[in-house]
Assembly symmetry: C2
Homo-oligomer: 186 residues x 2
């Protein structure tokens, strides 16, 4: 190969390596964020009493009582599994010194996966935060109490978990953009 | 130009035209879906009475009483505006017989817009459906009533509006994929 061709091939390999490393960093961060969110949410439960119109009612709150929180836990677990799997595949390929993304079809599959999980994450995070917000503000249809006053530790744990969910979503969305950059270059 | 080059240029123009038409169709459909969802949601209100522990409480529900529904209406309006704007730009360019997507940078901007609005749509739809679901099933923290029994017309309208929101999300997500196809080809 002549000089310019060799240097073009080297630049090309350098860009690919940079994209691979970016992908790897995003995957590790996404895995950490989703596992944190998952463990916070899956351990959230609290019991207290609340008084409505003078009646003292026992309230007990657990993540599995709300469909939205169950959905969030399911999505977080799926995203953590997806990130771990992609990370392991990448590490194996890097150790063998082969490229992480093998072909355009492979890049499309990874893009589709990242995109689908990013939408699912956004959906689960939003549904859960809608419900948490409703718990916090009470229901404006009528004079109902604010559930987060007696159950503040439950609500706070939920809020932190949702924050990590959105961090994890952002990292997945960034992965999808890296996939598009790959697709647009090769 | 020689024969093969001319035919390659013709194939290329044919692919671009196909992508432009696909984009246009997706935009029109997305505009219709989001306007339908918007008009259904923005006109949703109902009043009724509900009895809790023997007390008869007046309940009046309007979309603007819930933060999630307000957010949904905002996002739907933004998506409708985005779709209409992109559609008008496309039609103007097609009438002048110039390509709809001018450059790679332009394609990246359209991709970013579609992607951001698709995430916002998914988020708004999920938050609203989380709240509607909570209204429908009642709150499992304690023995509270099902708000959708007295307010069934409000709840049904909300559910149909949310269904159109998800249709509109799907069309935006499809637009983003068309953008990625464009970016991966040119």
């Amino acid at each position: 190969m002549s000089g310019p061709l060799v240097s073009a091939a080297r630049t090309d390999r350098c860009i690919r390596r940079k994209l691979d490393v970016t992908h790897g960093v995003l995957r590790v961060a996404c895995l950490l964020a989703s596992v944190t969110a998952l463990s916070l949410m899956a351990t959230a439960e609290e019991s207290a009493t609340v008084s409505i119109f003078g009646f003292s009612l026992p309230v007990y709150s657990k993540w599995s009582f709300s469909d939205s929180f169950e959905y969030l836990v399911g999505v977080l677990a799926a995203v953590a599994a997806h990130s771990l799997l992609q990370l392991l595949i990448s590490i194996l390929r890097l150790l063998r010194n082969s490229p992480v993304i093998l072909s355009r079809n492979h890049a499309w599959i990874i893009f589709a996966g990242d995109q689908a999980f990013a939408y699912a994450m956004m959906s689960a995070g939003s549904a859960a935060s809608g419900v948490t917000n409703l718990n916090r503000t009470g229901i404006r249809h009528s004079a109902l109490p604010n559930f987060c006053k007696p159950l503040h530790s439950f609500c706070d744990r939920g809020a932190v978990s949702i924050a990590f969910t959105f961090i994890s979503w952002f990292l997945l969305a960034a992965s999808a953009v890296v996939d598009v950059i790959w697709l647009s270059k090769y």
